[in-house]
């Protein structure tokens, strides 16, 4: 993908002065990686405590600059477009619903971190170790406890019952990551998932374009009138953590049987010139200091067995033992057909 140079035009206006060169080349000596600056490409939901990455710099002498892109899908598409001249050295945040696309495009370099020994096998979806699992979160139906007097639905099938008519809001799988995960949950659960969605539609399900609209707009929590919403297993602790005025018990709960597992991975981007430093960063992501920061920063769960969950999490949510899953390759292969079929059922 060589392209003609823009140098001629650029010099005309001298904007080159303003453009800072990427990935500054402070030489990483043969002995060490000290002084290197790594660029960590991630999606716009990435968050960590200030001290966490500082710890990494203190330990290794490697500075980390964070480059954010849009959502995970945007980040993957952008990385595919810029393959060979990567935006950064390490990508964080590609999940199992986009994983196959990234692997197929050859975005990552193989690296098996020693820390993987502390990660359960169920998270290690790529046998070739091109990506490393870092965190997971479950997309589940959440309910507003107060408005469901006779109790929440027990499972996905219950959602088509008249009792819960006009109560559920889901996200459009064509534009929303949890929306797509929920569609996968129904596909993993029902052979006739199409019939299930037709029933949901008949039962007055509402489709929002994204999580923000669904949760903050239509769900009771944000002032709406629907008491069931597709959200995350970690939403109840977040409701407590960010409650105002403060509460101790989450006003929401999670339907365990509805949970589809999303695992987020990190990988070394092919073409990086800081391979050793990148390896160090991947290693660091599997250490307790990084893993323990994950829950309250990004409201997802750490992958290593030795991580400790804050009481906020342990009090308000139980991690589902056998969540719904689908093979990443099957997801990538089925996506277009499933979403198109879904749109026909819902809007046809």
């Amino acid at each position: 993908m060589r392209r003609p140079t823009v140098l001629g035009m650029a010099t005309v206006i001298g904007l080159s002065l303003l453009a800072t060169a990427c990935g500054s080349e402070e030489a990483a000596g043969p002995d060490g990686i000290e002084g290197t600056t790594l660029t960590l490409l991630t999606h716009a939901s990435f968050a960590l405590s200030d001290s966490t990455l500082q710890d990494f710099t203190d330990q290794t002498g490697v500075r980390v600059e964070i480059l954010e892109s849009g959502d995970a899908g945007t980040m993957v598409s952008q990385s595919i477009l810029s393959a060979g001249n990567p935006l950064g050295d390490v990508m964080f945040g590609i999940d199992n619903t986009f994983l196959q696309r990234g692997l197929d495009a050859g975005l990552f370099e193989t690296y098996a971190s020693a820390g993987l020994s502390d990660v359960p096998d169920s998270f290690q979806l790529d046998p070739l170790n091109r990506v490393t699992p870092v965190d997971f979160g479950d997309v589940c139906v959440n309910y507003w406890t107060e408005s469901l007097e006779s109790g929440p639905p027990a499972d996905l099938a219950d959602l088509t019952e008249a009792e819960f008519a006009d109560q559920l809001v889901v996200e459009n799988p064509e534009t929303s990551s949890p929306g797509f995960a929920f569609l996968l949950a129904t596909i993993a659960t029902f052979d006739d998932w199409e019939g299930y969605w037709a029933d949901l539609r008949a039962n007055g399900v509402s489709v929002a374009s994204g999580w923000e609209e669904a949760y903050n707009g239509q769900f009771v929590s944000g002032g709406g009138d629907r008491s069931l919403v597709v959200s995350y297993a970690s939403s109840p602790p977040a409701e407590v953590f960010y409650s105002d005025p403060p509460v101790d018990v989450a006003p929401t709960g999670v339907i365990d049987e509805s949970c589809f597992r999303q695992i987020e991975f990190a990988g070394i981007l092919a073409g990086t010139s800081h391979r050793l430093a990148a390896e160090a960063l991947i290693d660091f992501m599997l250490t307790p200091s990084f893993q323990n920061d994950i829950p309250l920063s990004m409201f997802v769960f750490p992958v290593i067995d030795s991580a400790t969950l804050p009481t906020l999490f342990t009090d308000n949510v139980t991690v589902v033992d056998d969540p719904l899953t689908l093979d990443p390759a099957a997801i990538e292969a089925g996506r277009d057909e499933w979403t198109a079929r879904w749109a026909e059922i819902m809007f046809g």
Partner: protein, 533 residues
């Protein structure tokens, strides 16, 4: 001499647009279409779904434009009749919706719908085309009021008085004397509203309901969700061709030479009292209600009210890389840079559009407006894959954000400045020439100062557009500490909890106040620059 000066005015904007728009877009589209591009393009027109999407894109944009003109033109008349100081304030206030992220406005609209029982039942607005049109009017109201109102204020009211004395009624006077002179400004405003509606993203998805798609939302769907870059590129080509066709149509309208305006002794106003009140009320309801809902939500804490959410903006929450106020500061810095770029590029380009040879003038007019009608995905991805090598590796530079914002701001500057420049009596330029001013000097001494009336209004737009920009920014990679306020706001809303929601609303209100103050400040620069012309 003549050619040298002309070429400087032409080279700067041309280089800017070619480097940051044309070349990246051509590059990404040719990459996308490299395989079976033509087949995919043809396939679009054979697919009933895509045909429906294209048709819906066009008609909702036309309907939005017509409705916006209908609602906002009387307001433009109202604004034209105000004193300069009041006009400046109203012009700033109507700009406020510009900076509100769609997700926030959509929330406010839904809040209004809930309160007035419009979520369901016979008069349902929730998830309908009407909600889309209403939101487009809300966002674009300012475009018409500011562009047309400013031009209107410069018309000589004696012509209307003459028409009235000759026996024309109010309506005849308006249609036969005022309207023809307003036509260039109306065409200008209408084309911007159309382009905004044509490439609208959040409004379509959120307010229209999940089933609605336009070319813009489908480009996202194919490029990001499905990873089908070929189809996305085909759609992007269709979008650009459609936009080009439209702009060339409106520029023809704009070109009809307006009657020369002189210093007005009286504003050309034929608006009756009842009209004024009806209009002010409409303006207050349309713009005021969602804003009031936001303010109320930003103050609500539990059952009572407090300023606590505002106080929280100073501190960093875990969901943001920096305190929210730092994001506001970032946005301000980007907006200042973007506005400066847009003013320089757009100002020079306007001169070329007005004074350049016909063909050059057309190319500039089209080329500089096009970014407004091009998908944020196309621009974002284009810059990403093109400006990726030194000396112009912008992918990781903070400059990428103000440059992208300036691309969207330039059309505003051009569209508000060109009608003003065209209305300058040519004898002023000739007088300057015979007094010894070379052509470039004439531009500087006559066109720019008098055109500054349009320039500052355009600059105000460019500033507001930059402060509120979400789409293109979210598609561009950026350093986490250079997060903009709208992105920060979106992130606050991406995690459950009343605390974050309250902060997000407070941040939205801060943004509104900031932009209103900034626009007032920008536009008062002109007050001193040209002696209140």
């Amino acid at each position: 001499m003549k050619t040298a000066t002309k070429s400087i005015a032409a080279v700067v904007p041309a280089t800017f647009v070619v480097v940051f728009f044309v070349y990246p877009v051509v590059n990404v589209l040719s990459t996308g279409l490299a395989g079976d591009g033509l087949g995919s393009l043809a396939g679009l027109f054979e697919s009933p779904r895509e045909r429906r999407v294209m048709w819906f894109t066009v008609w909702q944009a036309i309907a939005s434009t017509a409705l916006t003109l209908l609602v906002a033109l009387p307001a433009a008349a109202l604004v034209a009749g105000l004193s300069e100081r009041r006009r400046r304030i109203v012009r700033a206030l109507v700009t406020v919706p510009f900076v509100l992220p769609t997700v926030v406005v959509a929330g406010a609209f839904e809040g209004v719908f809930q309160r007035f029982g419009l979520m369901s039942g016979t008069v349902r607005l929730h998830h309908t085309v009407w909600a889309i049109l209403l939101a487009h009017v809300f966002f674009n109201y300012a475009v018409v009021v500011r562009t047309v109102g400013t031009h209107w204020a410069g018309l000589d009211g004696r012509l209307e008085e003459q028409a009235r004395l000759l026996g024309a009624g109010r309506w005849r006077t308006f249609t036969e004397v005022t309207l023809p002179r307003l036509k260039p400004a109306i065409a200008s405003a209408a084309s911007i509203v159309f382009l905004f509606s044509f490439t609208s993203f959040g409004v379509i998805l959120i307010l229209g309901g999940a089933g609605r798609s336009t070319i813009e939302t489908d480009i996202y769907r194919f490029a990001v969700t499905r990873g089908d870059l070929t189809t996305a590129a085909s759609l992007a080509v269709v979008q650009i061709v459609a936009v080009l066709a439209l702009i060339s149509l409106t520029t023809r309208l704009e070109r009809q030479r307006p009657v020369a305006t002189r210093q007005p002794r009286r504003a050309s106003l034929v608006v009756g009292r009842a009209w004024r009140w009806a209009n002010v009320s409409l303006m207050l309801i349309l713009l005021g209600t969602p804003v009031a809902v936001l303010v109320e939500r930003s103050l609500a804490v539990g059952e009572g009210y407090s300023l606590r959410h505002y106080g929280a903006l100073v501190h960093r929450t875990r969901q943001l890389p920096v305190p929210a106020l730092v994001a506001v500061r970032n946005s301000l810095v980007f907006a200042v840079v973007a506005t400066a770029l847009a003013v320089v590029v757009g100002g020079l380009a306007s001169l070329v559009v007005v004074h350049g040879r016909r063909a050059l003038s057309r190319v500039f007019d089209l080329g500089l407006t096009l970014p407004l009608g091009t998908s944020a995905v196309t621009i974002g991805f284009g810059i990403l894959v093109t400006l990726d090598e030194p000396p112009l590796d912008l992918r990781t530079s903070w400059m990428i954000i103000p440059i992208a914002h300036a691309l969207i701001g330039v059309p505003f500057v051009v569209r508000t400045m060109v009608p003003v420049l065209r209305s300058i009596d040519n004898s002023l330029r000739e007088a300057a020439a015979v007094l010894g001013a070379a052509p470039a000097r004439v531009r500087r001494e006559i066109d720019l100062p008098i055109g500054s009336r349009g320039l500052v209004v355009g600059a105000g737009f460019a500033f507001a557009v930059s402060i509120g920009e979400f789409g293109a920014t979210s598609f561009l990679p950026r350093r986490s500490d250079s997060i903009t306020a709208p992105i920060a706001l979106f992130r606050l809303l991406a995690t459950p909890g009343d605390l974050l929601r309250g902060q997000a609303m407070a941040l939205a209100v801060v943004l509104m106040v900031v932009v209103a103050a900034a626009v007032v400040a920008i536009e008062s620069v002109r007050g001193t620059a040209d002696g209140g012309l």
